[in-house]
Subunit: 244 residues, 2 copies
């Protein structure tokens, strides 16, 4: 069997997330598998580097799939571009070693969260930002972010209440910057729990609104979900890059 | 009667253009008049600086309307923001002199046309660009653009075959630049005929593809529509600014 790697982007607005559900028309994985199965004339299963939630976008999602077909990768790429809807884009399709697995081999991921921090209308960016016009102290948010770096038990930042496996993850970098009328928060780590980036963002926003002191964040390690901040809405989030 | 000025932006994707038609739900003017008439409890007519075609966007549209209501402009602004759909945004609503007329007083307008000049997917910009992946010579396009500057009879660039009035207009500036995977064409003039910017762009694209020599453009002044280039699709176009 050949092993092929896809580098993808998508506007997640009208999807129920990455992971295939019964109705394959409403997920990214479902759309890809449908298109590839038709193109290659064999049933195809696609593995993504990780799931993205309903409404979350990706600029650098990576996936792989196995197939028996001998169709050249370039041909698969152009067929895919014809078959897929215009809110799913494929940068490349290429042969990779048998051992490559998009999820298991992912070493590091970067997500970016975009906050529209202004009273002005945001007509053109509205699908890709969360509107939060209140004043935010970036200084306090950056101080809070520093406490989150490193390996910790992020139990309070996990959206799955029945999580049985370890909730320990490492965050390598959190970058918070102003860009025009936006506040953008980039988070890089070795892996993320369900909803983790959105809860991190909600917690940092509470710090930025001076509702929660920056230095209180370490008390959240190993704590319960209710102790961390609100779940920031999905449309502000984008999976930017996966590194192997 | 008071006279109020609105500064607006909109994503034109799902509208049949600026100008009110019978079914007011599908035009920008219709949406605004509907919202304002409800807010002010009197019939309101809105004048825009000019019409934008179906699918064309605006980042800097200007309009004005008269009303008897004494509601403060700030209150009208916040009510409008609540009433209007999220693809129409209002920057400001302010009292202006009796004599201000958004269309008649407009001195200069700038439009920008965005071409996605790449084979890469353009998932996030797809509503605001026209995809034209072929190689374009910006040098030739800039040479062509120079011939268009000044006052000329732009009859060949008018989409209305029954145009009775003068087709003479002045173009003050055409700026053509590469921005990442885009080619952006900004055009500033004292006024534009129906479809004029889109036909100008189509003609310059033909120059950029080396299908039409730059120095042949002056032959289009006073010529017939068929002699100019193709009508570039609406979604790449945005009304950027109106100056008074």
């Amino acid at each position: 069997m050949r092993n092929l790697r896809l580098d993808l982007c998508y506007d997640g607005t009208r999807y129920r997330g990455w992971q295939r559900l019964g109705d394959s028309d409403s997920t990214i994985q479902g759309k890809l598998e449908q298109a590839l199965s038709r193109i290659l004339e064999e049933p195809i299963e696609v593995s993504g580097s990780g799931r993205t939630d309903a409404g979350v976008h990706a600029r650098g999602q990576v996936a792989n799939f196995h197939c028996a077909s001998a169709m050249p990768a370039e041909e698969i790429l152009s067929a895919l571009r014809r078959y897929l809807p215009e809110d799913i884009g494929v940068y490349s399709c290429r042969e990779v070693s048998e051992r490559f697995h998009a999820r298991l081999n992912a070493r590091e991921k970067t997500y970016c969260y975009r906050i529209w921090n202004s009273d002005d209308p945001c007509v053109f960016q509205r699908r890709f930002v969360a509107v939060m016009p209140e004043e935010l102290s970036l200084e306090q948010m950056r101080r809070g972010a520093e406490w989150l770096l490193g390996e910790h038990d992020f139990s309070a930042f996990c959206g799955n209440p029945k999580m049985k496996k370890s909730t320990v993850r490492s965050i390598y970098a959190i970058d918070i910057r102003r860009a025009g009328q936006e506040v953008q928060i980039s988070v890089t780590g070795n892996g993320f729990l369900h909803n983790m980036v959105r809860i991190l963002v909600g917690t940092l926003v509470e710090v930025g609104r001076l509702e929660r002191p920056a230095e209180s964040l370490p008390r959240l390690f190993g704590a319960r979900r209710e102790q961390a901040g609100f779940l920031a809405p999905p449309q502000g989030l984008c999976l930017e890059e996966v590194r192997y």
